[in-house]
């Protein structure tokens, strides 16, 4: 038999190691990773649906997404002006607003931008919901803003050449140009009455979103360079409107901690009595 003291020290060393191990294990679970999505921060008191410079936007974290020239289907374009877009979103439980920001050296009448969403449960190809050969796809909902009217069009597509404005126009948009960059706000109610053609936004749920931008500059011959399918595009990314805060996790944690405390208490009582 070893002197009790030495054994005790080993117990402690081991205990400390275990505690450290659990803390490391627990921490890696709770550290949030760099998110690949746009979050709509929940706010109270009305989202700034027509003000790209509203102070409320500073409470929404921006997410940046890389853009490519559209070389996926004809007509292609090999070089575009906009290389990245920065996106923020806010919602108040009723309305959602997206703020799209990007650098564009010149303000042109034909400048335009769009958001694209998957609609419903079916997957849709990011290029206008073009048909997939082995998977049944769904439509996409496109919110299209152009500088000429400084308004939004609420559109649907399911394949190339099928893009058309919807009967029900539910989206508003407004762009403001300054210092070499565009800020465009798109907004809509979280849900609409037309679930077959409009994306329905349920707080807490992830939804696929993509972006497109046209720089309306003209070439030497006076022709538009970026138009129609010749634009800057992104892949699918995720969007989520924040769910209202849920504190039940804290309650469960408190109950578990209380149970553990009670268990310790009973155990020590028992041990003391048994001696």
């Amino acid at each position: 038999m070893k002197p009790a003291n030495r054994v005790m020290k080993q117990v402690l060393r081991g205990g400390v190691a275990m505690v450290v191990a659990t803390i490391i294990g627990g921490t890696s679970l709770s550290v949030a990773q760099e998110s690949v999505s746009v979050r709509a921060t929940l706010m109270t008191g009305g989202v700034p649906i027509d003000d790209p410079n509203a102070a409320a936007w500073s409470s929404a974290p921006p997410a940046t997404f890389p853009m490519s020239p559209q070389v996926h289907w004809p007509n292609r374009i090999q070089e575009v002006t906009v290389k990245d877009v920065s996106v923020r979103a806010l919602h108040d439980g009723k309305q959602v607003a997206f703020l799209l920001e990007y650098a564009d050296p010149t303000q042109d009448p034909d400048d335009a931008a769009a958001l694209e969403f998957m609609v419903g449960d079916k997957k849709a190809h990011f290029a206008h919901g073009q048909p997939m050969l082995q998977v049944e796809g769904g439509p996409v909902n496109i919110w299209f803003w152009k500088n000429k009217t400084n308004k939004a069009a609420d559109m649907t597509a399911k394949g190339f050449g099928t893009l058309k404005p919807q009967e029900h126009q539910d989206v508003t948009a407004k762009g403001v140009y300054s210092n070499g960059s565009w800020k465009v706000v798109f907004s809509r109610n979280l849900s609409t009455g037309h679930a077959e053609e409009d994306v329905q936004i349920t707080p807490g749920q992830f939804i696929s979103i993509a972006f497109a931008v046209w720089d309306g500059r003209k070439d030497g011959a006076g022709e538009l360079v970026e138009k129609g399918s010749q634009k800057a595009v992104s892949s699918w990314w995720y969007f989520r409107a924040d769910a209202p805060p849920d504190y039940s996790g804290y309650m469960y944690a408190a109950i578990a901690a209380a149970l553990a405390l009670g268990f310790q208490f009973v155990l020590i009582r028992k041990l003391k009595k048994g001696q």
Binding site: M1, A4, R6, V7, M8, Q10, V11, L12, R13, G14, G15, A17, M18, V19, A21, T22, I24, G25, G26, S28, L29, S30, A32, S35, S37, F65, P66, M67, S68, P69, H72, P74, H125, F126, A127, M132, L133, Q134, V135, G137, G204, F206, A232, S235, W236, Y238, D246, G249, Y250, Y252, A253, A256, A257, A258, L259, A260, Q264, L267, L271, Q275
Partner: protein
């Protein structure tokens, strides 16, 4: 080594294995920490059962533990004892919080990079003779149609690649075309991203469906040019 030294080393070793060694074994992935916690609990109960099987080791194992818990004759360790008694419930609470909290991360979608091709695209052989002329032509078509995404150097880093996820394939990488047969490439090039089965997440792929723009003969020539340019050769079996 006391009766307690070995179990402790075993626990720490088990933790390090689960956390750092296992994820690096090919084909496995990092374990969620709730699972690691569960495995550690199982290991601990295994040790307790093993240690309490024989009367003698039982005493060596439980004796010091009991004295520490009840606080008898622990002397200078009293402060530590209180620390452990406070920390334990807090840890239990923390673990519970972690396992009930909703994740902030988007759903993870796994993508099968090389799903099985449809039957009619297995075992086809390139009908175009492998002459320097045809290879040259293939490289020319590649430069015109494929290089914006797959890159002039066949490395997947074309000028249009940056926004596309999944990224355009890097043909110089030994895990792409070097692992594949010409027949498989013929399928992928003809049908593109939209031709993938569901496990290939076709809705995300920017790979064009070239059959609507290029004749088969060009595609076979491009395949030759692609292998030659990327310094790879097709997988041949069967």
């Amino acid at each position: 080594m006391g009766a307690l030294g070995k179990p402790i080393i075993l626990m720490v070793g088990m933790y390090l294995f689960l956390k750092f060694v296992l994820p690096n074994i090919p084909g496995s992935a990092p374990l969620p920490s709730s699972l690691i916690f569960l495995y550690l609990l199982l290991t601990a109960s295994g040790i307790v059962i093993y240690e309490t099987l024989s009367g003698e080791s039982k005493d060596a194992f439980w004796g010091p533990m009991q004295r520490f818990l009840t606080g008898e004759n622990v002397g200078g360790l009293q402060a530590l004892r209180y620390g452990v008694l406070i920390l334990f419930p807090l840890l239990v609470g923390w673990q519970t919080y972690g396992s009930t909290a909703v994740s902030d991360l988007p759903p993870t979608e796994s993508r099968t990079v090389h799903p099985a091709p449809p039957g009619e695209y297995t075992g086809l052989s390139n009908p175009v003779p492998k002459t320097p002329d045809n290879i040259m032509q293939g490289k020319g078509f590649y430069a015109a149609f494929c290089s914006p995404c797959h890159g002039g150097n066949f490395d997947g880093k074309g000028p249009a690649a940056r926004g596309f996820i999944p990224a355009p394939a890097n043909f110089a990488d030994p895990t792409t075309i070097a692992m594949l047969q010409e027949s498989y490439l013929f399928w992928r090039i003809k049908k593109g991203g939209v031709g993938l089965p569901i496990e290939g997440t076709p809705w995300k792929s920017a790979m064009p469906r070239w059959e609507v723009e290029l004749p088969d003969e060009w595609i076979w020539k491009i395949i030759m040019g692609e292998y030659d340019g990327a310094h790879q050769s097709p997988r041949t079996w069967e």
